[in-house]
């Protein structure tokens, strides 16, 4: 076999040989479609840390789902979705009707939610279960969870297509949206639901904590390559897909845990982007030192 043939085999064989690797890859590609755009809007809205908050917030719901139905992904997902949505809704309401700002009210509710989750898990489960919720296992993705991830990705893409314009305006010029009667609050709520949904999809595969990585790192990396919102989204999706693929390959050949391998790949892309990316990166100014005439 030639060197080239060996190389191609190295890149392809894990997926042709094992169906669990194929499912994992498809799950990653689907996740990228939803999580990439969600991450971009979180960054643009200066809500980058909200993703992390939501990841912890889904814990009690997932734990209750686990207690009721055992290690059943649908039950844990539904529980996680309800818990995440509750935190998002309560935070949204508090922000709108009291003086507390969004970051503070999210912080308050997610702490309550997280403590509740840890309490439930320690009373009724073992630390191993908690680890599973927090870190997941993409290699254990079965057909049911694959369908769930795909449904969420489809819903996300469709919803973004529908709310794209008001969402952009709500980020850029909320006063204008209010003045033209553009339902800013509804748009914000729909966006928060998308965040929670994609978090749930992510925890199927990567666990809640790693899911945030696949959401935020491609989005932050994209800032150093793309200029406008649509190209930021496309870049983030691409980076998330590449991270998923490369992470899986590395985890297979080097016997690494898959979730961290995927997120670390995204992290590496982020570091390379912020160092060498063409737009406003560390070296972009240095490489184009000469200024223009006008």
């Amino acid at each position: 076999m030639t060197l080239l043939g060996q190389g191609i085999a190295w890149l392809v064989e894990p997926f042709t040989a094992f169906s669990f690797m194929r499912r994992a890859l498809v799950a990653c590609l689907a996740l990228a479609l939803g999580a990439g755009p969600v991450g971009v809007f979180l960054v643009l809205r200066r809500m980058s840390l909200i993703g992390d908050t939501m990841a912890h917030a889904v814990l009690p719901g997932a734990a209750i789902g686990f207690l009721v139905a055992g290690l059943s992904l649908p039950a844990m997902s539904l529980g996680g979705f309800i818990a995440g949505l509750a935190v998002a809704l309560l935070s949204g309401l508090v922000t709108r009707f009291t003086a507390l700002k969004e970051d503070a009210s999210f912080a308050a509710f997610f702490m309550i939610s997280l403590a509740l989750g840890v309490m439930i898990v320690s009373l009724h489960g073992s630390n191993v279960d908690l680890m599973h919720v927090l870190f997941g296992s993409i290699l254990a993705v079965d057909d049911d969870s694959l369908i769930l991830v795909a449904v969420i990705a489809t819903l996300s893409v469709m919803t973004f297509a529908i709310i794209y314009r008001p969402l952009v305006v709500e980020c850029f010029d909320p006063g204008f949206l209010r003045a033209v009667g553009g339902m800013g609050a509804v748009i914000h709520l729909v966006f928060l639901i998308l965040v929670v949904l994609n978090m749930v999809a992510g925890f199927q595969a990567l666990g809640t904590l790693m899911a945030v990585g696949l959401m935020m790192l491609p989005a932050t990396a994209a800032r150093f390559w793309a200029r406008e919102v649509w190209s930021l989204m496309a870049t983030a999706i691409f980076v998330a897909m590449v991270s998923g693929y490369v992470g899986l390959i590395l985890s297979y050949h080097m016997n690494l845990p898959s979730g961290p391998a995927i997120v670390l790949t995204a992290g590496a892309i982020h570091l390379v982007s912020l160092t060498f990316g063409p737009r406003n990166s560390l070296t972009a100014g240095w490489r184009q030192r000469r200024h223009l005439k006008g």
Partner: protein, 247 residues
């Protein structure tokens, strides 16, 4: 002349403290009105009230034969996220919101009118530039282009010339005067009294209460200015309830 925006004893404010107190009057169709007064006098608050962004604490605002969406509103600069990655053309296209709403596509005709508006405010060739890379004056030109595209019968401008250089001010003021000439109703919050005297036929002087509302020459008098300056900006935390009725 027909009344377009009627104010019946309108009180607007924050946390029950009035910023605009028992204001009576009307903006008539086709008038060009300057709103002047000290900071904290309620000028921006009044515009927000007209736009429905703030609910009156008392009294009511009546729009006659006019939908709120027919009003083009230019808020103060600080309200937009200046570094958001959106192009000049996309920003100006939003002026068509009344016609396309949140979901419909922009037609080629709308794109042409947006490009014309961009040239009209002196920003030809800036279509693809990101709004975040513009100067404050250029950004204000973009927002004026958006108003131009909206083609609204009523236009509210909140401090449109604050922190804007003289040439840009002259260009944009010419647009305001053109709108007036086209029969549109324009209300602008301004601080330059000389500019108001020279170009704005009508003036509302607001220092929480209306100090004067009418022909500019009769409103912008030394006595009125003195009275406006005497307004206390402070909230009175022990203030008793206001007993005046809206009617």
């Amino acid at each position: 002349m027909s009344c377009l925006i009627d104010l019946h004893g309108v009180t607007l404010g924050y946390e029950r403290h009035p910023a605009v107190h028992h204001l009576h009057g009307a903006f008539e169709a086709g008038t060009l009105t300057a709103v002047v007064g000290p900071n904290g006098g309620g000028k921006s608050t009044l515009l927000k009230g007209i736009m429905g962004l703030l609910r009156p604490l008392d009294g009511h605002i009546v729009l006659r034969g006019l939908d709120r969406r027919d009003i083009a509103y230019l808020p103060q600069q600080a309200d937009i996220v200046a570094d958001f990655p959106i192009s000049v053309l996309d920003t100006v296209l939003l002026g068509h919101w009344r016609r396309v709403g949140a979901f419909r596509a922009f037609t080629p005709k709308m794109r042409r009118s947006a490009s014309r508006a961009i040239s009209g405010v002196g920003l030809e060739g800036f279509e693809a530039r990101l709004v975040g890379t513009l100067s404050a004056g250029q950004r204000q030109r973009v927002l004026f282009a958006r108003v131009l595209v909206a083609d609204s019968p009523v236009i509210l401008l909140d401090e449109p010339f604050t922190a804007i250089d003289t040439r840009t001010t002259a260009d944009l003021l010419a647009l305001v005067l053109r709108w007036h000439g086209e029969g549109r109703t324009v209300v602008a919050v301004l601080h330059d009294h000389e500019q108001v005297r020279r170009h704005f036929p009508r003036t509302l002087m607001l220092a929480r209460e209306a100090i004067g509302w009418g022909d500019t020459a009769s409103v912008l008098t030394p006595a009125n200015l003195l009275q406006a300056r005497a307004m206390s900006e402070a909230w009175d935390d022990q203030s008793p309830l206001c007993e005046r009725s809206a009617a």
